[in-house]
């Protein structure tokens, strides 16, 4: 399913499905949860405005823009980032390996092709540890030390 770029709350029109289970009324499905760029996209079925009998698919996109982050989040001395680019096709890519079952065996598979590991991040992912090095002058000696930028995430245990 490809992601269409839109910022309104109208979506693709679907006919009402007969026998829709009641528990799925409020169900919201998460399509994108990108912690690196801080974008979340979810979708759910809502009654159409033109025709309340119909249900249409509504997609919600939430973007939090970290205005105070650096161009290189691992380097606090780099300049402030002023350009933020969000591409739905890139965001909708599912690059995390998923477990699927084929013939009774479970395999790890990546769902998308052309997955680029090196994605520039705009903000910190809470589950990852970010460190930087800096020069430290001590007793006249200049040493390069490593410091944690996100201390809470950098514990070993």
């Amino acid at each position: 399913m490809s992601c269409k770029t839109f910022f309104s709350d109208t979506g693709i029109a679907y006919p009402v499905l007969a026998g829709y289970p009641q528990s799925y009324d409020d169900e919201e499905v998460v399509l994108v949860n990108n912690k690196c760029k801080c974008v979340t996209v979810t979708s759910k079925f809502v009654p159409s405005k033109e025709n309340p009998e119909e249900e249409i698919l509504e997609r919600n996109i939430r973007i939090i823009v970290p205005l105070k982050s650096r161009e290189n989040i691992s380097d606090p001395t780099s300049p402030l980032r002023t350009t933020f680019v969000y591409r739905m096709t890139d965001l909708c890519k599912k690059c995390d390996p998923i477990e699927i079952e084929l013939g009774g065996e479970i395999y790890n598979a990546q769902q998308s092709t052309s997955c680029d590991d090196t994605e520039t991040c705009y903000t910190y992912n809470r589950d990852k540890c970010y460190t930087t090095t800096f020069p430290f002058l001590y007793h006249g000696e200049r040493k390069i030390l490593q410091a944690a930028l996100t201390p809470a995430s950098c514990y070993a245990e």
Partner: protein, 641 residues
Amino acid sequence: FKHFCLEILLALFFQLFLNPIFGPREVSGLLDGSVTVKCFYPQTTVNKHDRKYWCREATRSCHTVVSSNGYVAPGYQGRVAITDFPDQGVFLVNVSGLGLADRGSYHCGLGLNNRALSFQVKLDVSEGSGCRALLSFLFYVELQGSVTITCSFGQDYASIRKYLCKMEKSGCRNIIDTYGKVDDEYAGRILLSNENTAGSYSIMITQLGWQDAGLYLCGAGVYGESGETKEVDLHVYEGQGALPQGLKTPTWVPFISHTVLGVKGGSVTIECRYDTKGRSSLKYWCKWRKNGCSRIIDSNGFVSDLYEGRVAMYDNPENNTLTVILNRLADSDSGYYWCMTNENREKKTSKELKIVDGEPSLTGEEEVEASVGAPAQLACSYPCKYYSYEKYWCKWTRSGCTPVEASDQSRAELNVDCDKDNKTILLNFDDVALTDQGWYWCGVKHKGVYGETKAVQLRVSGEPRGRREVSPVRATAAWDAPGGCPGARGSEHIPAAPAVGSTRSLARGAGGKEPGGRSRGDRSSPVPHVPALRPADLVSVGSYRTNISMSDFESAKEYGANDNACMKGTQETQIGGDGKSRGGPAGAEPLGERRPSLPQSSKEEADVAYSAFLLQASAVAQGRGAGGDTAAPPGPWDGRM
């Protein structure tokens, strides 16, 4: 307007997905009293070390009241405390000296104040004791985990209907009750069982999904009409190493590990994990039914009769994994199965088994008939995909399937072959015994994980025949000379009754005389009755090797050493002596004196003589006299031979 709408949606959205923090929605305290707020968080590494805070909601932000970094807001000095319990995933906030100004909305959370990692708590302070304590049980459960909810209402409600219902817009939807009704959405993954105390019961739900979160009521009676209820607030969070954040697309297959597909006639391997606490408790596997869970197999060796030969359970305490294998699958095996332990706190696992059409990978005959004593072979063919897997045969018992190995010394007749060209695993029996009857499984194993299995039944029939065991206990013995041999020898010495390993002499029948011509009639000493031996059963004496010097024999013949009974035309060479009866007082004549020339008797005769010696030794030991014989036993042997 659009913006506003979007924000409302976001609020709900937070509530559902991006808010793993959970606590009480409302707390109330008395004036000048205190209140404790308990907030839950997923036990990830970062959460355990992150800052915990309690802040008061204001128009645009949340002002910190107290935080785990040591900050206390002015005005709250000495009144408020925050304690974190990282190993339980909980932190407590205690506020004392409550005043009316403390009423309002607060947040308990992790990290930085205004991010999404917080839960809203409404604090109410009231005067007097007339406040209704809103006590709801909070349950904080991991996604795809399980929960056990216990409710008790006292003895008065012992025999009244008990139920669990979920609060929805239109009322309380019944989920399960003691009359056996179960909501379809929860079919297979919910169990209601009565506790030992009257009026109390517990409900177990597994495979919790996002939609299971919410407010429930457990009660006795009928909702809205009679009885009592208790509120249960269930919150589902995402633990470490779970699926990517709630990812579920409309076309995706449900998370694999809860549905197991089995081929008709094939087998499935189901793995359940349990907590370390449950390591030593009783574990069992049962099939879900509307009124309970019927036990199939447990770790004490119990196996339901319907599943004999089809199911085995392996416990691996190191991995905290329980493996159950079920084969010979049929359509009726579809359903939900639970792995249970006696520990109440245990995470319960339930799996849905679906039977699909197809061909099992391991093929072979399902029943093999064999006769006792004959060889038998059980064969199991495997496809290419199992080429590199470990293959085995095992014998099914109620406490598991014990592997049958080729190197097992005690059953050397069995061996396990793998004929690589034909891709068959064979289990060979050289000599089938009645105890070999039963179920045998051939199976594959890969990296320590049990794979497919196939059950074969071996049926053993028939009487024992042919082969006999040679044992010194069994009496074997006398030659049965049918019809007797009249006048064969005339010597009336020790009857010759050579037999393998025998030390008894047995005389048979009134008419039959031993080749030694020994008449039996006068014998008064009791001779034990021994079953007649067929001539074919006797083992040739000639197979014994003895170092007997011929010179030691005076007259072997005298000892009845002649196995050419009743053959008149034979020439018999005497070993010394002349066949006369040999008598004399004990010790009168040393043997050596009468040593003749070396006899030229046949080897056979020598061997027979040896056996005769054995007989003699036995006779001497028994102190038998010769009875009515004219011949007396020869003089003392002094153990010489």
